[in-house]
C-alpha cells in the first residue's frame, strides 16, 4: 500500500504554529476523531479489502499534501496546484479510509477538526483578497437558498448551454475552469470541490461547524427574499445532521 508516505493530518508538523493550540486531541470535539484514525488504521492493516485495494490503485500517487505546501502555492498564485493540494489535503484530513478510497465520503467531514478546515479557508482567503475559500462559497450558497445549481452557476462551475430552454452543464475539468484571480473570475470559484459524486460532500464542508461561529449574523441578514423562510425551513428538514 502506498499509504506509508501520507502523514496523519493531525500530526503537528503539518501545521502552522498558530494552529498548534487547536491540535485536535486537546479539543473537546476531537474525542471522536482521535479514536477514528486508530480504527481505520486497524482495519487497513488487514487490507485484503477489495475496495480499498482498488481505490489505492486508482488514487493518484503523489507527494503528501501539507498546509505549508498549500501556503506556498497560494503565495505563488499557482491556484491550479493549490486547488489540487487542497483536495488532497482534505482527503488526508478525512482519514486513512478516505485516502485509500481516493475521495472523501461526506460523513467523514464531521471528523475533520475545525482548525484544519479553518486553516485551509484562511489560506485561500488571505491569498485571494477574500474572494476564494470555503467561507466565501458558504456565503454564496446560502444566498442561493442552498440550491447547488444556482450556487454552481454563481461561482462559475456550470456554464450555460445554447439550447432553447435555459439550462446549464458542468464545466469540464481542468480546462474550463479559471485558474487565476482576474476581474472576470467569479467569487468563490476556488477551491473546487467536484460534483462527480453529487453535492453531499460539498454540502457537508459548507455546513461544517468550523464555519458556523462567525456567521450567525450573516445568516439572519441573508437575502430576505420572499419565501426565504419556507424554503430554508424545508431545506433544514433535509439538512444532514452529522454533528454529534
Amino acid at each position: 500500500m502506498a499509504t506509508a508516505s501520507l502523514q496523519s493530518p493531525h500530526h503537528p508538523h503539518l501545521y502552522h504554529c498558530r494552529h498548534r493550540r487547536h491540535f485536535p486531541s486537546t479539543t473537546t470535539s476531537s474525542s471522536s476523531s482521535s479514536i477514528f484514525p486508530t480504527l481505520s488504521l486497524s482495519s487497513s492493516s488487514s487490507s485484503t479489502s477489495t475496495t480499498a485495494t482498488l481505490a489505492a490503485i486508482l488514487a493518484p500517487v503523489t507527494s503528501s499534501p501539507t498546509f505549508d505546501a498549500l501556503a506556498g502555492l497560494l503565495a505563488a498564485k499557482d491556484f491550479q496546484q493549490a486547488d489540487e493540494v487542497t483536495r488532497r489535503l482534505l482527503i488526508a484530513l478525512a482519514g486513512e479510509a478516505a485516502e485509500k478510497r481516493g475521495y472523501v465520503y461526506f460523513s467523514e467531514v464531521q471528523f475533520i477538526a475545525h482548525a484544519d478546515l479553518q486553516a485551509i479557508d484562511t489560506l485561500w482567503l488571505r491569498h485571494s483578497a477574500g474572494r476564494f475559500g470555503y467561507s466565501v462559497q458558504r456565503r454564496i450558497w446560502k444566498k442561493a437558498r442552498r440550491d447547488f445549481t444556482r450556487f454552481f452557476i454563481k461561482v462559475g462551475w456550470m456554464r450555460r448551454l445554447e439550447t432553447e430552454v435555459e439550462q446549464y452543464t458542468y464545466r469540464s475539468f481542468p480546462g474550463e475552469f479559471i485558474w487565476e484571480l482576474g476581474d472576470g473570475t467569479p467569487e468563490g470559484h476556488l477551491p473546487l470541490t467536484n460534483a462527480l459524486r453529487g453535492t453531499q460532500l460539498l454540502g457537508s464542508i459548507l455546513t461544517h461547524l468550523a464555519f458556523e461561529v462567525e456567521e450567525e449574523e450573516e445568516e439572519e441578514s441573508a437575502e430576505k427574499e420572499e419565501g426565504e423562510k419556507d424554503v430554508s425551513s424545508s431545506m433544514r428538514l433535509f439538512k444532514p445532521d452529522y454533528s454529534f
Binding site: T50, F148, R197, D230
Partner: protein, 1378 residues
C-alpha cells in the same frame, strides 16, 4: 453571468475533442462526401456534428506509446469495442502502466463505443484500426445493426490477427472468438459439450448466465488438462475472468497474458502475469465498507457499527433502500454515480443495501441479499436499480416472469433509474428527444415489463474520460422520490395524506372529472369508502357520490349559475413564488403571476375539497384551449402559473404522501420537456416534484399510460373499460330485420317482391342507401337480384347489430357481472388462438356444416343471402352456447362463484356440458367436442379474469408501498392477458414489432385497401396513401399498422437472433405483383415517443425503396422522390422523406382542441394548424437531430395522395369516441393540396373482429352514428351514469362535427337524426338539461355550429328551437330567472 458565457473557457467539450483529433493521422477520413455535409448543416442546431446521437470519438481512447526507437520493444496493438464506457479509464490506466514499465512490449490501444460505429468516418477509422491490430476485444455487442458492422470488419482480419476475444455479445460476434486453437466458430451448431453449456437454457438470460457459470467452474477442471487445446480454452476463460475483474491491475495482467502467449514477436519472451484477482460475483458493496460482503447479515453488522452514521441512520425506523448495481462499474472504479446516490440517500436519512451482480441476472442476488431469510420479509422499503437494465437478462434476452416473481417476493416499490450510456451529458441535455432511442428500448421499455418505475436519468458521462458522474439535481430527485416511496411502506394508513386529482378537459364546468370510460366521482366515492374501511382518515366524506360532486364543484348551488368550483386554497403570489422554484421560467409564456387562469387576480386558486387526509383536487387545464392563435403558433408551451401552483400546493402545503391521478387522462404528462429521460428543466418532472404518483388508467390505452409512466413517473393501475354489449337494433333497423326474416320464410310464397319493396323503402328511410346500392322502387327484380338486395341489407344490419359497444361507464371496484361479460367472451371466442391450440367458435361451428368460416365471411360481405343467414346462425349459436356456459358458472346474483370448481365439475360429466346441451338444439349439434372443451376451458379462465376485482386492491397495495404487478395494456379481446385489471400497465418491447403474425394480417388489410381503392377509382392503384400510425394500435396489434406501411412500399422486416426487428429488405416486384405504393406516414406524438426506433426503420425502408433502380410506374416512391428532388434541388434520398410527426415534446395537431372549443374560423385555419404542427420529420441519416421541420416536402408528399387511411384497433374506441382520429385526418387537406383538387378516397380499416374490414370513412362514420349516438341502447346506458353520461353524448356530437371539418364525410341525416333524438324529444331534452346543463349547452351550441358552418342543412324551425334553447339554458346557467 454573461461574462461567463462568453469567456474563453467555454469551449464545448465536443469541440475540444474534435480539435484534439485534428492532430491525428486519421484526420483525412473525417472529411465527408457532400451529402453528409448537407445533413450536417441541417441538424446543426439540434446536436451539431454528424447528426448522430453521439459525437464522441474513439480518439479519446487512443493511447500511442512514446516513440522510442532505441528501446526496440515490439509493439502490440489492441482494438476494443464495448457497449458502455466504464472500461475506458481502467483499460487506459492499465495500458499506461504497461508502457511505463517498458518491459517486453509497448502497447498501442484504441477503443470504440458500439454506438460510435454508426458514424461512417468513425467506422472507416475502425476498419483501418482493425486492419493492423494484433488483438481485438469486444464486449456486450447487442445492437444488431452495429453487431453486423463489427462482424464484417473483424471477420476480414480474423485469420491475420493474433487473438480475437469477444465476451458476451450476439452469437454472430461471439463466433469471431479465436485464441490459438480455441475458436467459437461452431457456436450454436456444434454438439461438443463445451457449447452445450451455452445452449442448455434457451430462454431467459441463459446464454450469458451459463457462460458466466462456465467462468466460475471451468478453470478448475481445465487446469489439469494437458493438451494445447485445453490450454487455449483455459486462457480464454482466464481472459474472461480478467475482463470481468475489470480493475486496471487485472486488465494489465490480461494484456500481458494475451500478448505473451499469442503475439508471435513475444513468443520467447516468457512474460509473467499474475492470476486474476477475483472479486465476488455478486454481493453487497458500500464505498465506506472495508470489503464486499457475501452475506447481508455481515453487511448489516458492519453498517450498525459505522461511526460516521448519525442518529437518523442508526434509528431502526429509518427507511431502507435497496440498490442494484452493476459489478463492472465497481471493479473498474467507474462508480462515482453510485457513490453519489448512496451519499444522497444516507444524507437524507435512508439506509442503503447496495447489491451488485456481475451477470445479467439480478433476481437471485436481489432475493438473497434483500429478503430476510428467516421470516421471508424484505429488509428494504424500496428498491432502486441503478443499472437501467431489466432485472433478468440485461441487454440480452430477458426473462420477465422470473423478474416479476423475484419482485413479488420483495414486494416493495421498484424504481429503475438510468445512467447515460450512449450519450455524453451535454448531448443528452441538448437533445429534445432526451434519451437515446436504443437506450429507451433497452433500459426504459424492457424494465417496464418487470414493473419498473420512474426512468430518471441520474448520471451523465464525460466525453473524454468515459467516466460516469452524478447529475446532482437528478440524483436528488431520484433519492427524494425513492425515499417517499419507501415512506409509503413505513407510514401508517391513518397518517398518510393522499391527493386525488381529477381532470377538467376541455375546461368547461361540464367536464370536471373527465376520464375515458370512467364514472369518476362514483369511482372516487367507492375508492374513498374502501380506504376508510381499511384505516385511512377520510373524515367528513358525504354519504353518496352525488354529495361528493356537490362538495367539490358546488353543483347544488351552482348548477345554473356561473361555474364556481370549490376553492380549497388561495395561494398568494409570494407564497407561490417561494414554493415553486421554476415559477420564473413560466413568465415567458404567461407573464407575471398570478395571471388570469386559476386566479382571482391576486391569488392563485386551488380547486378541490379535503376530507380528513384526502384532498380531491381539480387539475388545471393546459390553459391555451381558448386561444386559437396560440394553438397555431406554439410548438410547445409551458404550464401556466395556476397549473404549477396546483402541484406546489399538493406537494408542499397539503403535504401529500402520494397523488392519485384519477382516470385517463390528464395534462401533466403532456407538458413540454424531453420525450424520455427528463432533465431539470422538463416540466412534467418539475411539476410532479417528489410526490409518488399513482394513476388509474384505462387498460386499453397502454401507449398514453406509458407516456404517463415515463414523463410523470406514474405507477399506473389499469381499470376495465365498461362491459361491451352488442349494439343491437332499434326503430327502423329493427323493422328491417323483421322484414328480412319474413322474406326468408315467405320468399317462395309469391310475397317475395312485395316484401323486398318494403325492405327497400325501409332501408331508404334508415339512410342505408349510401351503404347498399338499392334498386329504384318498383323496378322488376329477378329472384336472384332480390336475394342479393336482401342479402346486402341483411349483411349491413348484422354488422350494426353485432358491433360491440361499451355500455355506460365503469366504476372502480364494481367489476362486471358474469352475464355482462358474455358479449366480451363471445368476441374472445371468435378469434383463433392456434399457438394455444384453441380454435374459434365460429370456425368450429362452420366446420360442422362443412364450411370454412373465412368463406362464410367472404360470402356474407358480398351479400350472398345464405351466407349472411349462416353467419347469423353461427353468431347466435355462439352467443347461446356461451350464455348457457356462463349461467352454469354463476350464482343467483349473477356473480361468478368459482369458475375452476364449477368448470371441473362440468367437465367431469361431459354429457352435461352446457354448451353441448345448447348446441344439441341447433343445427350445429355435431360440433367437435374436444375443440369446444379446449375453447371453453380458456373462456372459463377469461371469465374469471374479466370479473376479477383487483382495481381497489392494487391501489391499496400501491399506497402501502407494495409492488404492483405489471401487465400488458391493450384490448382484452385480442389479448386476454390484459386481464385482470389493476396492473401496472406496460407497452411492449419496441424492437419486437412488427411480429410475423402482424405482418400476415397487414398484408390482408393492405390488399383489401388497394382492391377497394382500385374498385372506386377506375382500376388504378393509388400512387400514394397518407396514413396515421398510432401508439396504442401498434401495441395492441403488435405492429400491424407499421407492417401495413412496410407492405405498401414492398419491404419486409428481418428479425435478428433475439427476434428483434432492426432491419428491412425489399420484396421483389415479382413477388409483390403490383407497384410499390408511396406513403405519407403521420405518426402520433405518442407513437413517436414509444417507437422512435420504428420511425427510424420506416425512414430507412422508404429511402431504400426510393433508391431502388426500378421503373417509375412500378415504384411510386421512387417516382415521386425523383420528381420532388428535382423540384426542391435536393438528393433523392433527402426527398424520400415520408415519416412525420410533431416536434419533440409536442402532441397532436390541436385541431381537436380547436373543434372542441369552436375556436376556429375556417377549415383553412385548421389545415394550417395541422401542417405547422405535424410537419416534423425523422431522418435516419441524422437520427440524433430528432424531429426536424420539413413542411415543404410534407406538403408535396401529401399532394400526391390518392387515399387517406387509418386503423381502428379495438371495439371500444371508434371514430367519434375520441377526438384524436379526426385530429389526425388529412382528407380535406390533401384535397386542397392536390393540384387537381380531387378529393382523395378515405378509408378506415377495422380489424377489431375476426373478419377484418376496410370501409370508407363515410361508411364508418355512419356505422358509428348508428351504433352509438343514435342508438337508444348506447345513450340510455350513458344517461344511466348521469352527469358524466350527458357529457359523453355531447362529446360524440362534437367529434362528429370534427369529422365534417376535416373530411367532409358526415351525412346530413346524422345531424338531423341526432336533433330528432335529443332536441325534438321533449322528455329527452329535459333529462339532458337537468343532469348536466353545461354539457347540454355545449350540445345545443354544437348543433348550431354544425348548421352555421354548413355541415347540416335543416329547417329554420329546428334552428329557431335550438337558438331559443340556447338562450334559455344560458340564462339558467348564468342565474337569470325569467
Amino acid at each position: 453571468m454573461a461574462s461567463l458565457v462568453s469567456s474563453p473557457f467555454t469551449l464545448p467539450c465536443s469541440k475540444a475533442e474534435q480539435l484534439s483529433s485534428l492532430s491525428h493521422k486519421k484526420l483525412l477520413c473525417s472529411f465527408l462526401p457532400s451529402r453528409r455535409a448537407a445533413s450536417r448543416f441541417r441538424c446543426a442546431v439540434a446536436t451539431g456534428g454528424n447528426g448522430l446521437f453521439t459525437q464522441t470519438k474513439p480518439e479519446v481512447r487512443r493511447i500511442i506509446p512514446d516513440a522510442e526507437p532505441a528501446s526496440g520493444l515490439p509493439r502490440v496493438k489492441v482494438v476494443y469495442v464495448v457497449l458502455e464506457a466504464q472500461y475506458q479509464s481502467s483499460l487506459s490506466a492499465a495500458v499506461r502502466a504497461l508502457n511505463a514499465d517498458r518491459q517486453h512490449a509497448s502497447f498501442e490501444v484504441v477503443g470504440y463505443l458500439v454506438e460510435e460505429l454508426r458514424d461512417d468516418s468513425t467506422y472507416q477509422t475502425f476498419c483501418e484500426d482493425v486492419a493492423d491490430t494484433n488483438v481485438f476485444i469486444g464486449s456486450l455487442i447487442f445492437v444488431e445493426e452495429l453487431a453486423v458492422k463489427v462482424k464484417e470488419a473483424v471477420e476480414k482480419e480474423r485469420d491475420r490477427m493474433d487473438a480475437v476475444l469477444v465476451f458476451p455479445s450476439m452469437p454472430e460476434v461471439m463466433r469471431l472468438n479465436k485464441l490459438g486453437s480455441f475458436s467459437m466458430s461452431q457456436l450454436g451448431q456444434s454438439k461438443s459439450s463445451f457449447f452445450q453449456l451455452f445452449k442448455r437454457k434457451k430462454t431467459g438470460a441463459g446464454f450469458a448466465e451459463s457462460m458466466l457459470k462456465l467462468v466460475r467452474t471451468l478453470p478448475k477442471v481445465l487446469k489439469y488438462l494437458p493438451s494445447d487445446k485445453a490450454q487455449d480454452a483455459r486462457l480464454y476463460i482466464l481472459s474472461l475472468q480478467f475482463w470481468l475483474g475489470g480493475s486496471p491491475e487485472n486488465l494489465k495482467n490480461f494484456l500481458k497474458m494475451i500478448a505473451g502467449n499469442y503475439v508471435p514477436a513475444l513468443r520467447g519472451a516468457k512474460i509473467d502475469y499474475d492470476d486474476p484477482v477475483l472479486f465476488l460475483d455478486n454481493g453487497i458493496w458500500h464505498p465506506m465498507a472495508p470489503a464486499m460482503y457475501d452475506d447481508v447479515k455481515e453487511y448489516l453488522n458492519w453498517y450498525g457499527t459505522r461511526r460516521d452514521a448519525n442518529a437518523k441512520l442508526k434509528d431502526p425506523n429509518s427507511p431502507v433502500i435497496g440498490l442494484v448495481l452493476q459489478r463492472s462499474h465497481i471493479v473498474t472504479g467507474d462508480d462515482a454515480h453510485y457513490v453519489a446516490v448512496i451519499m444522497e440517500l444516507e444524507a437524507r436519512g435512508a439506509k442503503v443495501i447496495p447489491i451488485f451482480a456481475g451477470g445479467l441476472d439480478f433476481s437471485g442476488p436481489a432475493e438473497r441479499h434483500l429478503v430476510n431469510p428467516v421470516n421471508g420479509r424484505p429488509f428494504v422499503h424500496a428498491v432502486v436499480s441503478l443499472t437501467g437494465f431489466a432485472l433478468v437478462g440485461g441487454p440480452a434476452r430477458q426473462d420477465h416472469p422470473r423478474a416479476i416473481e423475484a419482485l413479488r417476493k420483495l414486494d416493495v416499490p421498484y424504481i429503475v433509474a438510468l445512467p447515460l450510456v450512449f450519450q455524453t451529458t451535454e448531448e443528452w441535455l441538448n437533445s429534445t428527444l432526451g434519451l437515446h432511442p436504443i437506450q429507451v428500448a433497452l433500459q426504459v421499455a424492457l424494465p417496464e415489463l418487470d414493473g419498473g418505475m420512474e426512468p430518471i436519468v441520474f448520471s451523465g458521462r464525460d466525453g473524454k474520460t468515459g467516466k460516469s458522474h452524478a447529475l446532482h439535481k437528478r440524483v436528488e430527485q431520484l433519492c427524494t422520490r425513492a425515499i417517499r416511496w419507501a415512506e409509503l411502506k413505513r407510514k401508517s394508513k391513518g397518517e398518510k395524506k393522499i391527493a386525488i386529482t381529477v381532470f377538467s378537459f376541455p375546461p368547461d364546468k361540464g367536464n370536471v372529472g373527465t376520464a375515458a370510460y370512467l364514472n369518476v366521482f362514483s369511482s372516487i366515492f367507492s375508492v374513498l369508502r374502501e380506504l376508510e374501511h381499511s384505516g385511512y382518515n377520510v373524515a367528513g366524506l358525504p354519504e353518496t357520490a352525488d354529495g361528493l360532486i356537490e362538495d367539490a364543484i358546488h353543483d347544488k348551488e351552482a348548477k345554473f349559475s356561473s361555474p364556481s368550483l370549490n376553492v380549497a386554497y388561495r395561494m398568494s403570489v409570494r407564497e407561490y413564488q417561494s414554493l415553486t422554484t421554476y415559477a420564473a421560467a413560466l413568465e415567458e409564456n404567461w407573464g407575471k403571476p398570478p395571471g388570469n387562469l386559476n386566479s382571482d387576480g391576486e391569488n392563485l386558486l386551488v380547486y378541490g375539497k379535503q376530507y380528513g387526509n384526502v384532498f380531491i383536487g381539480v387539475q388545471p387545464t393546459f390553459g391555451y384551449e381558448g386561444d386559437p392563435m396560440r394553438l397555431l403558433f406554439s410548438k410547445s408551451a409551458s404550464p401556466h402559473h395556476g397549473f404549477a401552483a396546483y402541484y406546489s400546493f399538493v406537494e408542499k402545503i397539503f403535504g401529500a404522501d402520494a397523488v392519485l391521478h384519477f382516470g385517463t387522462h390528464g395534462s401533466l404528462e403532456f407538458m413540454p420537456g424531453k420525450q424520455v429521460g427528463m432533465s431539470d428543466v422538463c416540466y412534467p418532472d418539475s411539476l410532479i416534484g417528489n410526490i409518488p404518483n399513482i394513476y388509474y388508467y384505462a387498460a386499453n390505452n397502454p401507449s398514453e399510460a406509458t407516456i404517463a409512466k415515463r414523463r410523470s413517473y406514474a405507477n399506473t393501475i389499469s381499470y376495465l373499460t365498461p362491459p361491451a354489449e352488442n349494439a343491437g337494433l332499434y326503430k327502423g333497423l329493427k323493422q328491417l330485420s323483421e322484414l328480412i326474416s319474413s322474406y326468408q320464410s315467405l320468399k317462395d310464397s309469391g310475397r317475395g317482391p312485395q316484401i323486398v319493396s318494403s325492405i327497400i323503402s325501409t332501408a331508404k328511410q334508415c339512410n342505408l342507401d349510401k351503404d347498399v346500392s338499392l334498386p329504384v322502387e318498383g323496378e322488376q327484380l329477378s329472384v336472384k337480384e332480390r336475394d342479393l338486395v336482401v342479402g346486402k341489407v341483411y349483411s349491413k344490419i348484422m354488422e350494426i347489430e353485432s358491433r360491440l359497444l361499451p355500455c355506460g361507464l365503469h366504476v372502480i371496484g364494481e367489476p362486471p357481472s358474469a352475464m355482462e361479460a358474455v358479449a366480451t367472451l363471445v368476441n374472445i371466442a371468435a378469434l383463433d388462438r392456434l399457438e394455444d391450440g384453441i380454435y374459434s367458435m365460429p370456425g368450429i361451428l362452420a366446420q360442422t356444416v362443412g364450411r370454412q368460416i373465412e368463406d362464410v365471411y367472404w360470402g356474407s360481405d358480398k351479400g350472398i343471402l345464405e351466407d349472411v343467414e349462416l353467419l347469423r346462425q353461427i353468431t347466435e349459436a355462439s352467443r347461446g352456447a356461451i350464455t348457457a356456459f356462463v349461467e352454469k358458472t354463476t350464482n343467483k346474483k349473477g356473480q361468478v362463484v368459482d369458475v375452476a370448481e364449477k368448470l371441473s365439475s362440468i367437465l367431469g360429466f361431459s354429457l352435461a356440458e352446457p354448451w353441448v346441451l345448447y348446441l344439441s338444439k341447433t343445427k350445429f349439434s355435431r360440433a367437435d367436442r374436444d375443440k369446444l372443451r379446449a375453447l371453453f376451458q380458456f373462456l372459463g379462465e377469461c371469465l374469471k379474469l374479466v370479473v376479477a376485482d383487483n382495481e381497489l386492491a392494487s391501489l391499496k397495495q400501491a399506497l402501502q408501498g407494495s409492488y404492483v404487478e405489471p401487465g400488458p395494456g391493450g384490448d382484452p379481446i385480442r389479448n386476454p392477458k390484459v386481464l385482470p385489471t389493476g396492473k401496472n400497465i406496460h407497452a411492449l418491447d419496441p424492437q419486437a414489432i412488427p411480429t410475423a403474425a402482424a405482418m400476415q394480417s397487414a398484408k390482408v388489410v393492405v390488399d383489401r385497401l388497394l382492391a377497394r381503392q382500385k374498385a372506386d377509382n377506375d382500376g388504378k392503384y393509388p400512387e400514394t396513401v397518407a396514413l396515421v400510425l398510432w401508439g396504442t394500435d401498434n401495441i395492441k396489434t403488435y405492429g400491424e399498422s407499421l407492417a401495413q406501411v412496410l407492405w405498401m412500399i414492398g419491404v419486409r422486416p428481418v428479425a435478428d437472433t433475439f427476434g428483434r426487428v432492426n432491419r428491412v429488405e425489399p420484396v421483389s416486384l415479382e413477388e409483390l405483383s403490383r407497384p410499390r405504393i408511396d406513403v405519407v406516414v403521420n405518426c402520433s406524438g405518442v407513437f413517436r415517443d414509444l417507437f422512435i426506433n420504428q420511425m427510424n426503420l420506416l425512414d430507412r425502408a422508404v429511402k431504400m425503396v426510393a433508391e431502388l433502380e426500378e421503373p417509375a410506374e412500378q415504384n411510386y416512391v421512387r417516382k415521386h422522390a425523383v420528381e420532388q428532388a428535382a423540384e426542391l434541388g435536393v438528393r433523392v434520398r433527402e426527398a424520400a422523406t415520408r415519416v412525420f410527426s410533431n416536434a419533440s415534446g409536442s402532441y397532436s395537431s390541436n385541431v381537436n382542441l380547436a373543434v372542441e372549443n369552436s375556436s376556429w374560423n375556417d377549415e383553412r385555419q385548421l389545415q394550417d394548424m395541422y401542417l405547422s404542427r405535424k410537419s416534423f420529420a425523422f431522418d435516419s441519416d441524422s437520427p440524433g437531430a430528432g424531429m426536424t421541420e420539413r413542411r415543404k416536402i410534407f406538403e408535396m408528399a401529401l399532394s400526391t395522395a390518392d387515399a387517406t387511411f387509418q386503423n381502428l384497433d379495438s371495439s371500444e374506441i371508434s371514430l367519434t369516441d375520441v377526438s384524436h382520429y379526426f385530429d389526425s385526418d388529412p382528407t380535406n387537406m390533401v384535397q386542397s393540396l392536390r393540384r387537381d383538387g380531387k378529393r382523395p378516397g378515405a378509408y378506415i380499416a377495422d380489424t377489431t373482429t375476426a373478419n377484418a374490414q376496410v370501409r370508407t370513412l363515410a361508411e364508418t362514420v355512419r356505422l358509428d352514428a348508428r351504433t352509438k349516438l343514435l342508438n337508444p341502447k348506447w345513450y340510455e346506458g350513458m344517461l344511466a351514469s348521469g352527469y358524466e353520461g350527458v357529457r359523453e353524448i355531447e362529446k360524440r356530437l362534437t367529434n362528429t362535427v370534427g369529422w365534417s371539418a376535416t373530411s367532409g364525410q358526415v351525412d346530413n341525416w346524422v345531424y338531423e337524426e341526432s336533433n330528432t333524438t335529443f332536441i325534438k324529444d321533449e322528455e329527452m331534452l329535459k333529462r339532458l338539461m337537468q343532469r348536466n346543463p353545461n354539457s347540454f349547452r355545449k350540445m345545443v351550441q354544437t348543433f348550431l355550429e354544425a348548421s352555421g358552418r354548413g355541415y347540416w342543412e335543416t329547417s329554420e324551425e329546428n334552428l329557431e328551437r335550438l337558438r331559443q334553447l340556447y338562450s334559455e339554458v344560458e340564462d339558467r346557467i348564468e342565474g337569470i330567472d325569467r
